[in-house]
Amino acid sequence: MLDARESAIAVAYIVAAVLFILGLKRLSSPATARSGNRLAAVGMALALSVTLLDRQIVSFWIIAAGTLLGAAIGIYFARTVQMTAMPQMVALFNGMGGGTAALVSVAEYLRLTRGADAAIGTGEATSIVLGTVIGAISFTGSLIAFGKLQEILPGKPLQFPLQRVLNGLILLAMIVIGGAIALHITETSAIWLLFAAALVLGALFVLPIGGGDMPVVISILNSLTGLAAALTGIVLHNQMLVVAGVLVGASGTLLTLLMSTAMNRSVANVLFGAFGATSESAALQATGAVRTVRQTTAEDTAIALAYARSVVVVPGYGLAVAEAQHTVRELATDLEKRGVDVKYAIHPVAGRMPGHMNVLLAEANVPYDQLLEMDQVNGQFAQTDVVLVVGANDVVNPAARDDPSSPIYGMPILDVDRARNVVVLKRSMGHGFAGIDNALFYHDNTRMLFGDARQSLVKIGEALKTA
């Protein structure tokens, strides 16, 4: 039987688990989402407070010092980070969680195996092995993803010879060491070897993945950290921790599947394909004929926009790079005052993480009912007067729909080429992430407006005043 204190802790944990689920339920609508996040935070505060009552805890100063330091770092970054830098922020926090789970698993193993009468079952030991490995992979994997998104590391896939062989060998070694730990046929210090191997593998597994595949990678890492947390819960016999971890794991898994479906690629292909490593693809070389693009000016674009009835803006990663979300919103507001209907078309993998464009446009005060998903908007392009493509490339490439020889053939795209006029804002004729030519640029109804996206938008806005 549990005594009064233990019962109180157990009940509080149940309440916390319920609050997490209710909080996530409220994320099903933008109107209730904020209260949902706060509900989950209340659950967290409750769970952490009652944990302090646990009799296992004899000293509080390490907890207090660690929490203060961690909270200060976390809150500082959370408050100061730019919305355009959100993908790397999420990656970083995700890595912290993975690191915590791995360290807790290691510490728990060291504690349980002390002394001659080591009381640890194979089931618990297996959970510890998995928690250590998955947490550590998520930790270094997230840090590499952070480095790529922050542009500390090159966004291009980094490859070296025998990479897969090396990864395979590390994985094999981990299985052997992990098995030995689970079956108690090794020294306890082997856990450090396992920990180190998992850290190395985590880094090696994200390094060869290109920047444009980050929506999938971040989702996978998110789900791995959730899984590691759930495994830690099994080791600690804490069911609330299991529930919380699995909720995150489920969310990460669903997003992973959504993202890879939106790219028409399997998860394995994203992880091991090193997509975008070859900058000159077969499809590009195959098109031998010289094709020309038609350039336009900010003034002409302004006139086209001013006399349009409907305009659809298609944002991509270039919008985030140029931090042009506010400028685009100002232009849209001016157009709306002239009676133009303005909508935004969001491709699921536009940007560097799931929902990246939605967050940027929300920051710029774009009402969320103007943001249309691919399925909603694709039927409307034929009736659209002007489509403004701002920093998007592969997600509007008609080759994905029409050209079976294209590497991205089969990927669902936004059918902007069906609109009456398309204006593409682009820095230069460089290729998108997939490294392939974009057939859209050579269409008869497409005009290119070269230059920095934000500056181009500002010029269009100025020209609009006199149009």
Binding site: P30, M44, L52, G66, S251
Partner: protein, 104 residues
Amino acid sequence: MSQELVLGIYVFIMAMFVGFEVISRVPSVLHTPLMSGTNAIHGIVILGAMLVAGAADTPLLKILGFVAVVFGAANVFGGFVVTDRMLEMFRKRAPETTVEKKNA
């Protein structure tokens, strides 16, 4: 297998069904806040770190516990604050108010 391990696996599987059911209702507009919100929730592993740090009796366990608590706290506090900041922007605005703001 211990009784508690069986219970843990039981809860794991049930929570999986609840998780998929709840998360599949989240619209794509909110995928970034979903990701960063669940990110904060998995920071709950900090409670394992607290137990380790609070019960640590060797320098090694103390260091492990401390680092784990710092990471966990950064994850939890940072995660919830940044998600709140993001969701604050997702309020639906009537067109009139934005126009007023422009003119002001």
